[in-house]
Symmetry: C2
Subunit: 209 residues, 2 copies
């Protein structure tokens, strides 16, 4: 993990930033303009400091990208090590992992956004995409297990299901506003209800209604 | 619509392209490098013709973008004028529109991809985003109507439902391979089953299984 000085101390220092806060601004700028289109000059402008002051915190633009992607990937990978992801019925483990993935998405929104928009043009990007594929692959394995145990429908190719499910979850970064009326918890409830139980009212309920 | 000459005739001509085929290559290059990062020089290189030969087909890079976005938006907007979108129960009209949207996504994949990745930095982009929002807004209206008529569950905020549904549909452009084993028709069946009936087997079926 990235070591940072006590932020109180650092903020009184002249450049006004520690590595973590430089990173936070950099990620916002990368998401706005695209990583490739963002020069160190643009970053310096957005931070209100000189280019050499940025190099005091981080050796290169690629390192900023690497650190930012680590924030997202490290948090996602850690989910799979949690007890809820490894014990119990596959269906419950799958739900647990999806709920926690939504937590990470909403808590680390700009970092996950950056990860999901990667094109894979550099070594750092290709490495991050490989780790993301590995995470997706493990979640797909949980879906297969849930299907095997008879919890999930089997008339849809599991590859299609996995892709549609990730498509739904990943699209959250495009519109979710942290701190708004919709909590991460309620969003997770809604997504799980929709994907696993469907939007249609059960026929019985429709007859009564 | 764009008028094109018979491709057989045109391909024997010297520049080797008509406007539609220049457009098709341009869209692929825009999707690969990003619209802003693509210069007319890069386009010329990919087309294997000179910059001035491109200007013979289209006055500017912005016009290529406008024509490409028209391909996507015109097709999407036309769906809402079809009889299946305007007559019958809201639930059926909604399903019709979603199925046809998936058709357009898979048939005009690169054009819709370009539309979905827009950042809105130019007038042409902002205009296209406005038309896309208008389309989304009309589909959201159908969902509201389906909920009103008692076809859809009402414990999820309709704005959340709409966003998750579009997230799922739009994510198709990121992975769908036209001409592969998964037909557009089967993909539409799968997506409709998953979103409206859910991935879980009904409890009764699970007890039997």
């Amino acid at each position: 993990m990235v070591k940072t000085k006590n932020p109180e101390t650092v903020r009184r220092g002249r450049p006004g930033y520690d590595q973590q806060s430089v990173l936070s601004v950099a990620v916002t700028v990368f998401n706005k303009h695209g990583y490739e289109a963002t020069s160190m000059g643009i970053l310096a402008e957005n931070l209100g400091i000189s280019k050499s002051a940025i190099y005091h915190h981080v050796p290169s633009k690629g390192d900023l990208l690497r650190l930012a992607l680590e924030e997202a990937l490290g948090s996602l990978e850690a989910i799979l090590e949690e007890p809820g992801a490894s014990a119990g019925r596959a269906d419950d483990r799958l739900e647990y992992v999806l709920r926690r993935t939504i937590d990470v998405l909403t808590e680390k929104l700009p970092y996950v956004t950056l990860l999901l928009r990667l094109r894979g043009n550099t070594e750092v990007e290709r490495n991050a995409l490989e780790r993301r594929r590995e995470f997706d692959h493990k979640v797909a394995g949980l879906m297969d297990a849930a299907r095997e145990e008879g919890s999930l429908r089997s008339d849809i190719d599991p590859r299609t299901t996995t892709r549609l499910l990730f498509g739904t979850i990943n699209s959250i970064v495009e519109w979710y506003k942290p701190g708004g009326k919709l909590t991460s918890q309620k969003l997770a409830d809604d997504l799980i209800s929709m994907m696993f139980d469907g939007l249609h009212l059960p026929t019985a309920a429709r007859v009564i209604a």
